[in-house]
Symmetry: C2
Subunit: 114 residues, 2 copies
DNA sequence: GTAACTACTTACCACTTTGTAACTGGTTAC
DNA sequence: GTAACCAGTTACAAAGTGGTAAGTAGTTAC
């Protein structure tokens, strides 16, 4: 038996790899952090807000949708708009996203201080 | 003012990017999860345990050392061995690593169940 | 001296990921 | 018709990432 405050698994690193397989790349967690923390966005809004080019954004959104982390809704507006939202399942990533945001904030402070 | 249970920042995603900049790629979090959760390892041990080739492992360890997340110690053993350990600063990543491990475990369950 | 073990490093190649720019197709406003 | 806006897609190029195999260098065992 191990310390049950720690994760109890022989191959802890394989679970890390499973997670990375789903949220790999430079952008997926960035997109999810926006949709999860700030809510629904349209395609163009997401592109401008995150700085991701349409080509990449389109592909990342497809992959996130395939993994059931976001949902896509076409709206009958004047020019057709498309809304992307995080799903319930994406909410389970909140812990990961939150931890990374906090670490990033702290790390920036640390770097500035040096 | 925002809900202070959430992260309060306009550009939440920039902090995610800061974090990803440090722990980018396929392997850095895998290496850190081993060193943080399971303790000091030698070069060869790390390579075998994680399945990372010497070339990549060497480069990743350099980068982690530059970011002060791991420390390197040369030991005066029969053939010289080198020990890598996580630093105090790497402990601050425990929240991120733990969250990713738990999500990976849960995700694997979910996928299996489908 | 030769083989074996440690910890890397180098050369080379392949695949993946990302980016830029331009273009498609549909609708609305003038 | 022309311009403008939306949501993408396509073509192409550049950069990043990863892998294999072999080599270096130091020490030990035979």
């Amino acid at each position: 038996m191990k310390d049950n405050l720690d994760v109890e698994c022989e191959n802890v690193h394989s679970f890390i790899q499973d997670t990375l397989y789903v949220v790999n790349g430079k952008w997926k967690l960035v997109i999810l952090s926006i949709l999860v923390n700030k809510g629904t966005r349209r395609f163009g809004e997401l592109s401008r807000e995150s700085g991701i080019s349409p080509r990449i954004l389109s592909r990342e959104l497809h992959e996130l949708e395939m993994n059931q982390l976001i949902s896509r809704r076409v709206c009958n507006t004047k020019p057709v708009t498309v809304e992307y939202s995080s799903t319930e399942y994406a909410e389970t990533l909140k812990e990961v996203i939150g931890a990374m945001i906090r670490w990033g904030q702290n790390h920036r402070k640390k770097i500035k201080g040096q």
